[in-house]
């Protein structure tokens, strides 16, 4: 058994994790990281197989609440547990199977295309605020705002409440991503959940009186037809949409633009052949996607290569490493705007494949389209710096760009 004590938050590994991943794939594709207290898998084959492995469980929440909190804390944070334990991202079959099928209908590529005009309008409005300026902060002035605006609008929240959604999204993101963490963070998370739930309950009641054509209404119809669902399930699902769609999409937009700015020749090609925008998005996802890894818990003893992962052990699946595995991708470190097929694992694979993937792709596509129409050149003022996060790849704000119309 290979055991290491590597610091995954080491500044060099945060700035440029890919060299480290190459060493992992070459020298210790499966190993135990004592500091992180779990197994780390890094090749395409192992990560892909693990994402499809039914023995690797996605419910990382229940073990946390059971083993790290006292009985009193469990009572105190019962609502937080109830909410997180209803989110499909943290559910395993059979509960996962039923709920996932319900929500999937709202996020198929075809249903997401019906949101295209609404998303396009929000993209235009967000970019209108750049007019007449020479320099912007891509994150504060765009990437951190668009995803929450899209989710709030799709759910059916009134426009004047958008700022409140931005606030909840920011707080929930800081509190929940990268592990649940300290009790203070849990307390603050629960306060936000209580406030957000009360808001959504009002929105729900308003929808009862005045049905709208939006996702809240659609979820309410599903709830009416399904004995096992209740109104809380609808409210918690809306919370999941905001939380899941916010930071990941923000990172997708910022990381992709930071990547594309370095590929000037290829961008010029995209200007001449607009169909390349779709393959360009996949290549950005592969090389610099918003999530470096995802976590699982072994539901039983699992043998991989010559190692035995014990029931209950934590496992980190490094998609960002799998995406640069030369066994799967030719010239894995180079950006090829027309790379196809591009079976990257940035949205995961298997039953937890990102529900919001079509919406995230749509937001990025319309962003790139509008940017190419409005601005001749975008330049980074200073290089992108990445935040010290273990699982997500997130640029530290501000990300200053000079813009020329």
């Amino acid at each position: 058994m290979i055991v290491v004590n590597d610091d995954l938050l080491d500044p060099e590994r945060i700035a440029e994790p890919f060299k480290y991943y190459r060493r992992l794939r070459d020298e210790m594709p499966i190993h135990y990281n004592q500091r992180w207290r779990g197994w780390v898998l890094s090749t395409y084959r192992d990560v892909s197989r693990s994402l499809h492995d039914k023995r690797m469980l996605a419910d990382t929440i229940t073990p946390y609440f059971q083993s790290r909190l006292t009985e009193e804390e469990r009572r105190q944070f019962a609502l937080t547990y109830e909410v997180l334990n209803s989110w499909v991202v943290f559910l395993d079959p059979p509960r996962h199977t039923r709920l996932r099928r319900i929500f999937s209908k709202a996020f198929t590529p075809a249903s997401v295309q019906t949101m295209r005009p609404v998303v396009h309008q929000l993209v235009r409005e967000a970019l209108d605020s750049w007019e007449g300026r020479q320099e912007i902060d891509l994150i504060a002035d765009y990437a951190s705002r668009l995803p929450a605006s899209v989710i709030a609008t799709v759910i059916g929240a009134p426009r004047e409440d958008l700022d409140r959604f931005h606030h909840w999204a920011d707080v929930l993101t800081n509190l929940l991503h990268g592990g649940v963490g300290s009790d203070m963070r849990l307390e603050r998370a629960q306060d936000v959940i209580i406030e957000f739930k009360a808001y959504l309950q009002d929105l729900y009641d308003d929808h009862l009186r005045h049905p709208h054509d939006d996702m809240m209404n659609w979820l309410m119809e599903v709830e009416r037809d399904d004995e096992e669902l209740n109104s809380d399930d609808v409210l918690y699902a809306c919370m999941l949409l905001l939380n899941a769609g916010h930071e990941t999409t923000q990172n997708l937009i910022a990381n992709s633009i930071a990547t594309l700015i370095d590929e000037k020749d290829q961008i010029d090609r995209m200007g001449q052949e607009p169909t390349l925008i779709k393959t360009a998005i996949e290549e950005c996802l592969r090389l610099n996607g918003p999530m470096k890894g995802t976590m699982r818990i072994a539901g039983e003893d699992i043998e991989i290569r010559d190692e035995t992962i014990r029931e209950g052990d934590r496992i980190m699946l490094l998609m960002a490493s799998a995406n640069r595995d030369p066994e799967k991708f030719e010239n894995p470190d180079s950006f090829r705007i027309d790379r196809w097929p591009n079976p990257h694992l940035s949205f995961g694979h298997g039953i937890h494949f990102c529900l919001g993937a079509p919406l995230a792709r749509l937001e990025l596509e319309l962003t790139l389209l509008e940017l190419s129409k409005r601005f001749r050149a975008l330049e980074l003022v200073t290089p992108a710096l990445y935040q010290p996060r273990i699982l997500s790849r997130s640029i530290e704000p501000p990300l200053r760009l000079t813009i020329a119309a």
């Binding site: 892909s48 197989r49 994402l51 499809h52 199977t97 996932r100 099928r101 999937s104 209908k105 996020f107 198929t108 590529p109 075809a110 196809w340 097929p341 079976p343 949205f347 995961g348 694979h349 298997g350 039953i351 494949f353 529900l355 993937a357 079509p358």
Partner: protein, 68 residues
């Protein structure tokens, strides 16, 4: 409108991400191979289920081919 018969169900393995939505909806028709991709194995195509599976596929990997 004359309805055309569904004669073939194809899965694009470059797109398939193994979400198992199709195998859940139509377990007789769709199966997962060892690599986490769906394959269509149904002898007699159940049109309604195949269409439902194609509609819910998160990556639109299921192509339905109707007779001319």
């Amino acid at each position: 409108m004359a309805l055309k018969r569904l004669v073939k169900v194809e899965i694009d393995h470059d797109l398939c991400v193994g979400s198992s939505m199709c195998t859940g909806i139509d377990p007789e028709g769709f199966k997962m191979d060892g690599e986490g991709h769906a394959v269509y194995v149904g002898d007699n195509i159940d049109e309604d289920l195949a269409e439902e599976a194609a509609g819910i596929c998160p990556v639109a990997a299921i192509k339905l081919i109707y007779e001319d």
